[in-house]
Symmetry: C2
């Protein structure tokens, strides 16, 4: 018997004892984090499927795994022999989990799931969908309980304080005061959240519980009378205890949140964000205050956190320059090896080798880049695993090379590197695509049009009130003109020493029902990352991070624009001037000039010479060199 | 005693008799038409205020008129002596009507209004807003009843049939079948509408009851079993009676709609569009079927009507060419007179005079243009009163010169003409701004950037799924770059021998709560009309009508673009090549070449020579003449 089959059998026994008809096991921690720690890999434990997205549904005679198109092939392979059926999400005729349950759930049946691993948003939607069946939820069961013997421990790193004057730029007391004003305006006297990044931001603390996200497992409750932070006991340091005392913050044990909600002084009306609270916490609050006492809306902390303050902005500016310099050094190093390989007389295209003669692969190169970043003094960790794809691998948007399976870099075609770091001065994210040798005319055309889109958005001027939906087309239009689209948004927000993806703002041309449009505010940060992805051929992405700034204010309104924060050259070897417009050529030349000025001080002489070449102005009719 | 004060006093007497605490009198007919016939000018009758937008509110001790900023000066003047207070809408501290009523209405009070003149949307919103006061609506009173002795008659023109093969392109039976499919899909068995343009479209009929809109006062009820058209008796012709008989359509008297709704076989569920039905009809339906039986959604006819069929498109193409030719002849004629005036040695700038030596004014020129349009064989009427503004007058977006108050045209500066006609082959709308003599560099800069925006939108390519919100910035961005905005949408839909403004599509950068975003569909028609309006100085608008067309379809989706329908030169005398981009220069040259090819056949030799000059290619670096 396959080990997964055996585990599912044991779960079925437990279900029988607890009276559950179905058990739903999503891929999630208690906080709807983008990355989950090993402790939370319950779905993988029962199914063997290792992909980042998937939900397992088990009944006495059915076991199905729902995942999306990225993972169909991998899931088929990993599920083989487990008896678990692959449910191909969005394929014609394949029901959603809700639809499946609606059909197969017995009337008055019991659906079990760990209420801490499902958001209130999802739980409420499911309960509405199954209303006609009078389904009862059982949310207090952990499916791994008693079955997963060697389960890793819950992550628990030490919490550290973010210097309020030097890094945070606003005291936690000031943030709490602003939050309470927002709570009052919404007619509420209590706010509960489980979103880790907003809790870290609110209390000016950070930790290391989730990979790439410097956060601690935590909950927060703020009422008119108290401010409570729930943390695991061993993550608490004496410094934090002092800080809490000085700021009149109560720290309670992480695992007591549910009990606390059940026993606290009953609030009049609770403000909560259904996407930022687990169903378990939601249900517990609902039981206390009833429907009338629950006020669902976007968390006020989302926008507060997204609008960076002057101290944060100054830190981010300097941090992005050093981060850009690290990437420049990397590109110089790889380009030099590529030139050397081109000059060799061996096979064509020639493989790149490093200074010790060892072959350079996607994996080894990524390690080198990560090491360059780690040399920056306030480096904390990567902001996401480096995506470095050579040739056709770059066509996969979220490609991650592993050591055993990495392509060697060759002196031909294009190489895409998407990477970023966490620093005390902020969180970075940058993508550049560059040539390692001869490239085709088609590559240059696609690269140039991607650059034009990137630069058009960077130089946009727009009225206050615009959302990402208004400006998205500036980045996309040059590619749309030749019938090409990139199947993702153009841009996302970025945290400050927090998640590399944060809302509420984003730049996209359409919004699915769950996604919300947000007005672009002065002080917000967004990525600008158009691309071309040709399966089996190549991938291009150019990603520059932009700060929203005020341009002018007059009788027609307040005009906003962008200031670039990332300064890494856009590869001139891939630019075909025939597809460049004079306007974008000017923007590119100005950007390259700034890049040289800002980055050169961080480079050695050899690197400086290279950067000067890389940032030399391009001349086309209508855009002459100044 | 001022006559309006006297009229209000008589209304107050009537209110006392009927027990009404407030009487609300909006500017509207029974069908929420854009223009209202004299019969419906009740608000003007009681207040003396002649503007196109305003609502009068009367109680025993208060009389107030709400209107918007365009009319503050005029309203002050016209209300003087009437005892009616001007309520300046959107000014700080000025309540809306709902807010005013909420404050001043007695509990359990009675608000009277003619339920036929208020949409269900407005009525429902008002009733929600006043819920806490337990206000009762009295909607069966016409305020003019018994007071307005010399009230004009209800308009009643003869209905005519639109040839189904030649002009409508789809039989009414086919349209009704499609409507019934949509009704069924919405789970409804009855559809009721009071929107005149959609009723005309559905039954392939037209009339002349509303100025510039070729419609008949009417209602329609479609159920699974019958199709009923409500018309005034004397608008019915024998041909219409035959047509109705052949298509199994029942015609009932216009004034019987309410009785019919009260007595018809009770429907299971009624589909209605709250913006397209009067509150009176809504309330009557609600009384029959209850909340559960009412299904509110956008009328399915809106989108069906907006997507033009192949016959309509062919007619529109040919009609727009002839309409464009009329405007070209006009521009040629005025330009010739302007050149002559410039050569004169008299005052500077010299006034234009016509061939008989009479001075040319905004008014006389508009009359000439209207006469040129009227020569087109299938001309029916204007699609809106011609807007022809010289100099500073053009800065007023909806300026209409009257005979006694029209500015003379002088051989300097710019002249803006916005006009259109109703034809059996469609409805047109076009704006051009052109120079009558010397212009400033600033005028040329603003004109050129307006043209760039206009041409950028015209040449856009976008994925199916985009709305007007996605593409608006293409037209607006060149002006935003210099801190200028035009305070209106960029584009609107246009009917077929129907209203010059129609939904559901529109091109704007933001949507107020009442406005809906609609996906741009192949076959829809939109205007593309960016502009610059500098109060007291000048106005610029360039408006070209575009047809949405499919460009290509591939793995990335279906790409759409625009085909221009309007062909009138964009004045080269106002183009400063320094602000033109090579891309838009190419688009302009191609557009001008098409313009010559399509329009020249309709011109005499002299006019052709002029048009050839006007459409000659412009050469700038990066955009050389082919």
């Amino acid at each position: 018997m396959n080990q997964y089959m055996e585990r599912v059998t044991r779960l079925r026994d437990a279900m029988k004892r607890s009276g559950a008809d179905f058990f739903m096991i999503p891929t999630a921690d208690y906080h709807q984090s983008e990355y989950v720690a090993d402790f939370f890999k319950t779905r993988e434990f029962f199914s063997g499927f290792t992909g980042s997205n998937g939900t397992l549904l088990i009944s006495s005679d059915f076991a199905g795994l729902w995942t999306d198109g990225r993972y169909f092939i991998q899931a088929e392979r990993e599920l083989a022999g487990s008896g678990i059926v692959l449910m191909r999400m969005a394929d014609p005729g394949v029901p959603t989990i809700g639809e499946y349950l609606l059909e197969h759930m017995p009337g008055n049946g019991v659906l079990a799931f760990d209420g801490r691993c499902v958001s209130a948003l999802e739980g409420i939607a499911l309960s509405k969908q199954l209303a006609s069946k009078n389904v009862r939820f059982r949310t207090d069961l952990d499916p791994a309980e008693g079955i997963w013997q060697e389960r890793p421990a819950l992550p628990c790193s030490e919490v550290f304080l973010l210097d309020e004057a030097k890094y945070a730029g606003e005291t936690t007391l000031s943030k709490l005061e602003r939050l309470r004003r927002e709570m009052k305006q919404a007619g509420t006297d209590c706010f509960v959240t489980g979103r880790l990044d907003e809790i870290m931001w609110l209390f000016n603390i950070r930790a290391n519980d989730v990979e790439c996200n410097p956060v601690a497992l935590s909950y927060a409750v703020v009422t008119d009378e108290c401010k409570i932070l729930f943390l695991q006991k061993s993550s608490i340091t004496p410094a934090l205890t002092d800080f809490a005392r000085n700021n009149d913050i109560t720290i309670l044990p992480y695992e007591e949140i549910l009990t606390y909600l059940q026993e606290m002084k009953q609030p009049e009306r609770v403000l909560f964000d259904a996407a930022g609270l687990s169903y378990a916490l939601y249900a517990s609050l609902l039981a206390r205050v009833g429907e009338q006492g629950m006020q669902e809306q976007d968390s006020p902390l989302q926008k507060m956190k997204a609008v960076k303050n002057p101290v944060e902005i100054e830190n981010i500016r300097s941090c992005y320059i050093e981060d850009s310099a690290a990437l420049c050094k990397f590109i110089y190093r790889i380009s030099k090896r590529a030139r050397k390989a081109q000059e060799s007389t061996g096979e064509s295209p020639a493989p790149l080798s490093d200074e010790e003669g060892k072959p350079v692969t996607e994996y080894s190169a990524a390690m080198e880049l990560d090491a360059l970043r780690a040399q920056i003094p306030d480096f904390v960790e990567l902001s996401f695993p480096t995506i470095a794809g050579y040739g056709p691998n770059a066509a996969m948007m979220h490609y991650e090379a592993d050591e055993d399976n990495a392509a060697p870099l060759l002196a031909a075609g294009m190489y895409l590197v998407d990477s970023g770091g966490q620093y005390l001065r902020g969180t970075t994210d940058v993508t550049r695509t560059f040539a390692l040798g001869p490239v085709t005319d088609e590559m240059k055309k696609h690269f140039t049009l991607t650059a034009v889109g990137n630069l058009q958005l960077q130089s946009a001027v727009f009225l206050y009130g615009c959302t990402g939906k208004n400006v998205d087309i500036l980045s996309r239009e040059p590619l749309w003109q030749i019938g090409i689209d990139y199947k993702c948004g153009t841009g996302h927000g970025i945290g400050y020493l927090l998640n590399v993806h944060e809302g509420p703002q984003n730049i996209r041309w359409r919004f699915t029902p769950g996604q919300k449009e947000a007005v672009l505010e002065e002080g917000m940060i967004v990525s600008d990352e158009p691309g071309v992805y040709l399966e089996g051929k190549y991938g291009i992405r150019i990603e520059t991070i932009l700060l929203v700034r005020k341009i002018c204010e007059n009788g027609d309104g307040t005009f906003l624009g962008f200031e670039p924060l990332t300064f890494v050259p856009i590869d001139r070897a891939l630019i075909d001037p025939a597809y460049l417009t004079p306007q974008t050529c000017s923007v590119l030349n100005a950007y390259h000039q700034m890049t040289y000025e800002k980055i050169a001080p961080f480079l050695n002489e050899e690197e400086q010479v290279w950067l000067r070449e890389q940032t030399a102005p391009i001349t086309i009719p209508g855009c002459e060199q100044q």
